[in-house]
């Protein structure tokens, strides 16, 4: 089968890339995914969208993405409810060092037009009264951060892309990428062989493996991050409450359930996405410490998902001199969902040789080559 562009991965990045290319008139776009709809990291994520970052690059990507989400329903002509709410992220500082770092973060964010501010303990308690006042010393807050339903957002892009002529195939896995003289010639899957010269690697947790199919080295790996959901209750909490030092994020989604997750400092590199009792123990202790009243909620389900980690915890949105026609959007380090609009836009610009909306150097694969990279994003749970 002949294709113009083959996108591997129909998660939020893949569907956004497909949509952005199709909107610019590109024909012959086909997207494959190895599992069911949103089986990978997108469908397993914490459903938060935020702009409060410590690196300039992440701030810019996040702000442009939020600007898109604010009009996504109309832009994509989606009939369903994206469950977008902008009730903010409240990020707790628990040490003086963290407080000082947050002062710098807020200065950076404000300079880039992100309306975050630093709050005293008293001000934070006015926004989330059920916080344990002894669990933190100050906070930062950004009202325009918030929540978005990952399944619905992906479906919105998926349906909009289909309307523009993009074709999709699920339960289809790329097995081989044939290369001749520095150019892609064919992609073989478990169902089909595609004659195609341009391939986009949007494979999320499997981005490294898909790179290797084409002989392209991408310095990313995957690790399991676990999360749980409680029974739904009436609205209690507006913003996402988060702490890097306590290792927790916790929000009440519009449906009423609380979602909460934390990273595992001992996580090993793997594609394992199962649940553990250790996570449940640590998560329960952490959340009951920070917001004791939530101890009265029943946990009804837990699951895991892959963070695809890059060396500087910032995404790789890039082409590569290792192979013509091979493009990638990966290494989001747990934040691919909230960056999807800008990911799709930038990758369409790279593929079509257009002037890019932002400077690509900090996002390019080449930043890991020699001099290395300047700053590792620390604002990650």
């Amino acid at each position: 089968m002949k294709s113009n562009i083959l996108i591997i991965g129909a998660g939020i990045s893949g569907v956004s890339i497909a949509y952005n290319l199709a909107k610019k008139g590109v024909k012959g776009i086909h997207v494959i995914d190895r599992g069911y709809f949103t089986n990978g990291a997108t469908g397993r994520c914490g459903a938060g969208v935020r702009q409060q970052w410590a690196t300039e690059g992440n701030c810019i990507l996040a702000k442009m993405s939020i600007d898109f989400f604010e009009h996504a329903k109309q832009t994509l002509e989606y009939q369903g409810d994206l469950e977008f709410k902008q009730e903010g992220y409240l990020i707790l500082a628990t040490t003086e060092t963290e407080h000082d770092q947050f002062t710098k973060n807020v200065q950076l964010q404000n300079r880039l037009g992100i309306p975050s501010k630093q709050l005293t303990k008293k001000e934070a308690l006015e926004i989330v009264p059920h916080l344990n006042p002894n669990a933190f010393i100050s906070a930062t807050f950004c009202q325009t951060d918030g929540h978005l339903n990952p399944f619905k957002m992906t479906e919105a892009y998926y349906l909009a892309a289909k309307k523009l002529g993009v074709t999709f195939s699920f339960y289809e896995e790329a097995l081989e990428i044939k290369v001749n003289d520095h150019k892609i010639t064919e992609v073989v899957t478990n169902k089909e062989t595609y004659q195609v010269e341009k391939v986009v690697n949007a494979a999320g947790g499997y981005a490294k493996e898909v790179g290797l199919l084409a002989g392209v080295e991408i310095p990313v790996y995957s690790e399991n991050h676990e999360i749980l959901a409680t029974e739904p209750i009436e609205k209690l909490q507006g913003p996402m409450v988060m702490s890097f030092s306590k290792n927790i994020y916790c929000q009440q989604v519009p449906h009423g359930a609380f979602l909460m997750g934390r990273g595992n400092p001992q996580a090993v590199k793997s594609h394992h996405v199962e649940s553990s009792w250790q996570f449940l123990d640590e998560m329960a202790k952490t959340v009951v410490d920070i917001m004791p009243i939530l101890g009265n909620l029943r946990v009804i389900r837990q699951w895991g998902g892959s963070y695809n980690m890059s060396p500087d915890r910032q995404p790789i949105i890039s082409d590569t001199d290792q192979l013509d026609g091979f493009y990638m959007a990966c290494g989001f380090s747990g934040h691919g969902f909230m960056f999807a609009p800008i990911t799709g836009l930038l990758l369409s610009e790279i593929i079509l040789n257009e002037k890019t909306t932002v400077d690509l150097a900090p996002l390019h694969l080449d930043r890991f080559k020699e001099k290395g990279f300047n700053y590792i994003e620390k604002s990650v749970v």
Binding site: Y36, F37, T38, N39, G43, F151, K152, E155, A229, T230, E231, H255, S275, L280, D281, A284, K285, V287, V288, P292, L294, G295, N296, L297, R298, V299, I300, R301, Q302, W303
Partner: protein, 93 residues
């Protein structure tokens, strides 16, 4: 009785009609329906709707029911208070 009046998922109030609509749109597994309708995400964790939906998928695609995968079973088996999990660890050694 009309399909729009038959509740298939009691936790999330999802009707037979909503299931049929998504199957007609091309979604084909319980996992797809779960992500778009929240079936199986409520307190019963698909104990009620799981097999009913399996039967609907089997009828829709004219497949034997044993060929239709059931939902992924995830912990917990039943709802447990977060504070019980947090407090009961104190006695564990």
């Amino acid at each position: 009785m009309k399909a729009k009046d038959i509740i298939i998922c009691r936790c999330e109030d999802i009707t037979l009609q909503q299931i049929h609509d998504l199957l007609d749109q091309g979604y084909s597994t319980f996992e797809d329906l779960k992500r778009l309708l929240r079936v199986g995400m409520g307190p019963c964790q698909a104990n009620t709707c799981g097999h009913l939906i399996q039967r609907e998928i089997s009828k829709h695609f004219n497949k034997n029911i044993e060929e239709v995968p059931i939902h992924k079973v995830r912990p917990m088996t039943t709802g447990v208070l977060l504070k019980m999990i947090a407090e009961d660890q104190k006695d564990e050694k």
